[in-house]
Symmetry: C2
Subunit: 264 residues, 2 copies
Amino acid sequence: MACRAVLELAAAEPMLHGRSKCCERMLVLDTAELSVRMPTMRIETVFLFDLDGTLVDSVYQHVLAWREALDEEGIDLSIWRIHRKIGMSGGLFTNQLLRETGVEINPERVDRLRRRHAEAFLRHAVEIRPLPGACDLMAALSGSGTRWAIATSGRMETVAPSLSALGVDPAKTFVVTRDQVKYAKPDPDLFLAAAERLGVPIETAVVIGDSIWDMLAARRCRALGVGLLSGGYGLEELERSGAARVYEDPADLLEHLDEVGGRR
Amino acid sequence: MACRAVLELAAAEPMLHGRSKCCERMLVLDTAELSVRMPTMRIETVFLFDLDGTLVDSVYQHVLAWREALDEEGIDLSIWRIHRKIGMSGGLFTNQLLRETGVEINPERVDRLRRRHAEAFLRHAVEIRPLPGACDLMAALSGSGTRWAIATSGRMETVAPSLSALGVDPAKTFVVTRDQVKYAKPDPDLFLAAAERLGVPIETAVVIGDSIWDMLAARRCRALGVGLLSGGYGLEELERSGAARVYEDPADLLEHLDEVGGRR
């Protein structure tokens, strides 16, 4: 209860003081003061969306594009293992794969894999479509004055076709890509950068993602993780990695938006 | 305990009497008789393998081949939903999809989808490889005199490239395909037919599969389901659908074969 009150204070006056200041204040609040102040304290939720598997139906094309890139490097890896790494930073992904397969890691090889994956993925870009409800969800949030942003581990070169499929103009929407941060997921840098762009504390953010890396990154920065099954992970995998709720896809989330901060 | 003894009796003398006969005999066994007979009673386990995602790394190609076939019919379906139906009978799969999407079902459409899926899949057939450990596992079983068979929901037209990748000659190995039974998974007909071909009661069979449909079919015929993650399902999904144990892939199963009946 105390934590929730702290969060709500922080959310209500995000620009006035940091969290630690707010915590100090909490310690001296007595019950009477709380009961008077509570009704005005609310988290004004913002939504930070992952892109692939969350807003666009592109995970399986990414998986097979990585398989193609790895094949060209003579690296044999089962496809399900690639699937389970989609959503994490491409650099971390290749480093982990190379480490796991015992293949020599060098920057040239990592860069070559990245380029080959991008080339293979872009050949499939025309097949990429929004997931059911994705456009309606973004429109509903904008319509109710709820702010949102997109934060993706992809680079702008592979992200552009997906944004285009969604009808999202990066000049008019907050979109944070891997190009703009030091580390991508499961580091929380992308979500921190997105919250900063929205001018809100990260603790007011709900992170919507389809992969366990989204959920882990959300926990690491104290955002609230909400999972979607539309990237092909199982329900329990997402729950175990920290999802507070799991929905099927954006359409299902839109129907239950009130459960995770959609009320204004 | 009684059930186990019944099973072991049935397995020890599979050709002498059916299960019900065996059960009748069990009822009149007294404790003294049991203690004398028990050491000689064992289940001589046979292994019934699913093919796609279990022995060969072909699930993701099947998923995108179905997506392509559905696209050509103007049916829009998220890819993860296709993934979760892979492994079940192709006819049941298309019927369910058409019902779920509200698209009209007719035999011509179902047949067209089947043909288009097969065409799209066969274009990718050259990419299909055995999963790690698949060939070693089959060789180890054969080497120790443990009998095994393959039972797949696929038709011979799409199964042939996978068998070829595995080096399995259907003339020398028991392979049951969708062409040979009335209903494919999650009906247990394929596994029942495979056990019959091996000349053993289905209760002595361990079914190895990567999908929840394998596990459901195994439970329906009282075989023991063992799951593999190599088709891209989550661990918990397989456990919840009845897997007694779950391993990563054939290599991991081979390392732990003693746990599920590999000892002779």
